[in-house]
């Protein structure tokens, strides 16, 4: 790798109003290397990458392409210069085929020869260890396959620098492994990669060099080989010792809030579960093993047959017919922007979406009273900006999630179902959310569905592992032997005793 670096950023500064998104950032992307960019939400990673992709212009600072100064005044220019971006939200036309997406925006003649193009796509995919049907429609593909199409688009354009914005957030572990293999092949062919991620283990595993951004500045840069533990990285990121260990004092379990006996609908197989006020049951497993179906039945989105699901002592149907069930049940969905909130409504309207108790008189909403209450909650939960008129889409993921929690907990629910509550949040926000969940269990039983084992271990009193629609095992979190077996259980390799603890 003797040649000049593919891309060198020198002293990049960018401000939005008073906020310095990037301050004097200098980075180098070398040929055949993977540079990992770490940082909390709002640390300036996205701004920096948008500058590199030509979407926005820096206030000052220079970009050098193989030591030649360049200016990316448009995305087209950056693309032409060989900068390619794999966005977190795929930029694919769902109704079109794989090949159509790959060739979209490519220069060339008037006419398109599909047979030849399909062949080219297959060849290119094989070179990088991918298998894809070029005639398949994007809407029929899995997330991992869609991401492959995004990568193919860039490879076909002969991009030399590929930027991956949190690429594993949407992938299953197996798909992530494939992605890493593809990335290795790409750097093997001399491409440079920028890998943005929250997941420290991944960064350690794949990166050659690591740069850590905090408040718009590069606070640390190191070779991955020098890093001894993920804790070191995490510390750099937040600038303080991260206590990803929260204090959890066990409470005395009280009234039963959820009882599932031998539930077998929608692909589930004989699931048993009991949840009492004062405890958190963590439900772990690879996504797609029945967690979603269970959650949707508990939350009333799907109707279970028979009498196998009881909430607060009532049969499912009777519970959802009873007055005030909506006060007793709180659902914190995975999809914060879609299911939990309306992005285009103000915070106060979003607050009133599920919480109207005390804020209605006849047909009228008492917005003023709700506003006062909501503002108090926002201070209490440290939601920023503390502006009731702000729209939900203006909030960062962490703040939006805290707003959802504030809203749901305000009703003092008895049963809380939290689905991936900290997915995509930075460490500080994760910690806040964890503390809030632990506090909420005083008055409620919490069913915590999470893909993050550390989260389940940190929060849950008991852990249930789901595989293929079955509850493989359900055990107390202190049971170190069982906890150690969780990865095998998730993979369907070990079956604990099917027990109803």
């Amino acid at each position: 790798m003797a040649g000049p670096p593919l891309i060198r950023l020198a002293g990049i500064c960018k401000s939005f109003g008073k906020v310095h998104a990037n301050r004097d950032v200098s980075l180098t992307v070398a040929e055949g290397k993977i540079l990992a960019l770490l940082g909390e939400n709002g640390a300036g990673k996205s701004t920096l990458m948008a500058i590199l992709a030509g979407q926005i212009q820096p206030d000052s600072g220079d970009i050098f392409l193989r030591e030649k100064k360049v200016q990316f005044t448009s995305t087209e220019k950056a693309i032409k210069a060989g900068i390619g971006m794999v966005y977190q939200h795929f930029k694919l036309v769902e109704a079109m085929t794989v090949a159509e997406n790959v060739f979209l925006g490519q220069s060339g003649g008037w006419w398109l020869n599909w047979a030849k193009m399909h062949r080219q796509v297959v060849d290119l995919a094989e070179q990088y260890g991918m298998k894809i049907n070029p005639a398949a429609r994007i809407r029929d593909l899995s997330m991992g396959e869609k991401q492959q199409v995004e990568i193919l688009k860039l490879l076909h354009r002969k991009s030399t620098v590929l930027i991956f914005d949190e690429p594993t957030a949407v992938l299953t572990p197996a798909e992530a492994e494939n992605l890493f293999a593809t990335m290795k092949l790409m750097v093997g062919k001399g491409k440079g990669i920028v890998f943005i991620s929250h997941k420290l283990e991944e960064v350690m595993a794949i990166a050659d060099t690591i740069a850590i951004l905090r408040r718009g500045e590069v606070v640390a840069g190191m070779a991955a080989a020098e890093v001894t533990s993920t804790a070191e990285l995490a510390e750099c990121m937040v600038g303080r010792e991260v206590l990803l260990q929260v204090d959890r004092l066990p409470l005395e379990p009280r009234q039963m809030v959820l009882k599932v006996t031998d539930l077998g609908d929608y692909g589930l197989r004989g699931v048993n579960l009991e949840l009492r006020q004062g405890e958190i049951v963590g439900l772990v497993g690879v996504a797609g093993n029945g967690q979603k179906q269970l959650v949707e039945m508990v939350c009333g989105l799907r109707r279970p047959t028979g009498n196998s699901l009881r909430i607060l002592g009532l049969e499912w149907a009777r519970f959802f017919r009873s007055a005030g069930w909506d006060k007793a049940l709180a659902y914190i969905p995975e999809d914060r922007q879609g299911l939990a909130t309306c992005p285009g409504l103000s915070l106060i309207d979003n607050f009133l979406l599920t919480t109207r108790g005390g804020f209605v008189r006849g047909p009228w909403l008492l917005r003023q009273q709700a506003g006062i209450k909501a503002l108090r909650l926002m201070q209490e939960f440290d939601i920023r900006p503390p502006d009731l008129g702000a729209f939900a889409w203006q909030l960062s993921g962490g703040n939006l999630q805290k707003m959802v929690l504030a809203r749901e907990f305000y009703r003092k629910p008895r049963l809380i179902v939290a689905e991936q509550p900290t997915q995509g949040l930075d460490i500080a926000a994760t910690e806040d959310v964890w503390k809030l969940l632990l506090e909420a269990r005083e008055a409620a039983g919490i069913l915590l569905v999470t893909g993050d084992l550390a989260e389940a271990i940190a929060l849950a009193d008991r852990i249930g592992v789901m595989y293929n629609g079955e509850m493989v095992d359900l055990f107390a979190v202190d049971d170190a032997e069982k906890v150690a077996l969780i990865p095998q259980m998730m993979a369907g390799l070990a079956s604990g005793e099917p027990s109803a603890v």
């Binding site: 060739f103 979209l104 925006g105 060339g108 008037w110």
Partner: protein, 306 residues
């Protein structure tokens, strides 16, 4: 005897379906780029007037035909400015264009009411017109009908097999993806709007230069609206638009003949038939929504910063 009547009716079907076909193809072209244009009716009638006036002044109907297309493009450029520059509401802008177009054309055309212009006359295609039945139905028309035969396959080729067609469809499906791929979405939408407007103008000119050779007020009589509905019936596919246009052409030709034959049915009921069919067609096609090629971002403006 009855065979001849049926053949004559089918030939009339092709003729009365042609202006609707032009307009429907124009609207498909526009909507494929992601822009809804409800101004078809107004653009058509402006095209009809422009074609008529130019043909009358120059004595050259071909010139009039192309002038109509050009005026169609110019008229839809208003819609383009509202939607692409000012990010205005596409539905409102389209409705305004219809009101503006019909009002303006009827006003400017007042002095021409009842006058005639040189138009296109039937021209039998050698060999093809000699085919029994088929030849009589399809190949004994004015040249504009033959032009209309060529547009659907050409438009299909453009969408499916050219780089620009792919870009235009991407602009209508997912503008953000097109932008990320380095395409100029705004330019493609201009192409969709102005190109579609050209065909709508041609559809109008067919009415004044081939169908009637006369100018009367409200010449288009709702055909533009039928075209808007037909786009949905056609699932946004140029090929299916042909069936839709001839279906409506058929019912229009039929009701004229029924009126002429002195049937007992009140003429207002007969006049209503095409519009009843519109409603039926829309209901039927909404049942099979999944097979439709409706552009995902139809009617959604692109943000000014894109």
């Amino acid at each position: 005897m009855t065979g001849e009547i049926v053949i004559a009716l089918l030939a009339a079907t092709v003729q009365s379906g042609t202006p609707i076909l032009f307009a429907t193809l124009g609207e498909i072209f526009t909507e494929k780029s992601g822009v809804l244009n409800l101004g078809v009716e107004g653009v058509m009638i402006l095209g009809a007037l422009a074609g008529f006036v130019v043909a009358r002044q120059t004595g050259n109907p071909t010139l009039g035909f192309f002038a109509a297309g050009l005026v169609g493009s110019l008229a839809t450029a208003i819609h383009g400015m509202v939607c692409l520059w000012f990010c205005g509401n596409q539905v409102v802008s389209g409705l305004a264009l219809t009101i503006l177009g019909t009002g303006l054309a009827n006003y400017l055309g007042t002095t021409f009411i009842g006058t005639a212009a040189p138009g296109f006359t039937p021209f039998a295609v050698p060999l093809l017109s000699a085919i029994p039945v088929i030849g009589q139905i399809f190949f004994q028309h004015d040249p504009l009908v033959y032009v209309s035969y060529l547009i659907p396959p050409v438009m299909w080729l453009f969408f499916a097999r050219t780089r620009f067609g792919l870009g235009l469809r991407a602009a209508g499906e997912y503008p953000a993806a097109a932008t990320a791929a380095g395409l100029n979405v705004r330019a493609y939408r201009w192409l969709g709007i102005v190109g579609g407007g050209f065909f709508m103008g041609l559809g109008g000119a067919y009415l004044s230069l081939a169908y009637t050779h006369l100018w009367t007020s409200s010449l288009t009589a709702g055909r533009g609206w039928i075209a808007v509905a037909l786009v949905i019936f056609a699932f946004w596919r140029p090929g299916r638009a042909v069936f839709g246009a001839y279906l409506f052409g058929g019912i229009m030709a039929l009701q004229l003949r029924l009126q002429a034959s002195g049937t007992q049915l009140p003429s207002s009921i007969l006049l209503m038939l095409p519009y009843v069919l519109t409603v039926i067609v829309l209901v039927l096609s909404s049942w099979r929504k999944r097979t439709s090629d409706e552009p995902a971002s139809l009617g959604v403006n692109i943000a000014p910063a894109d």
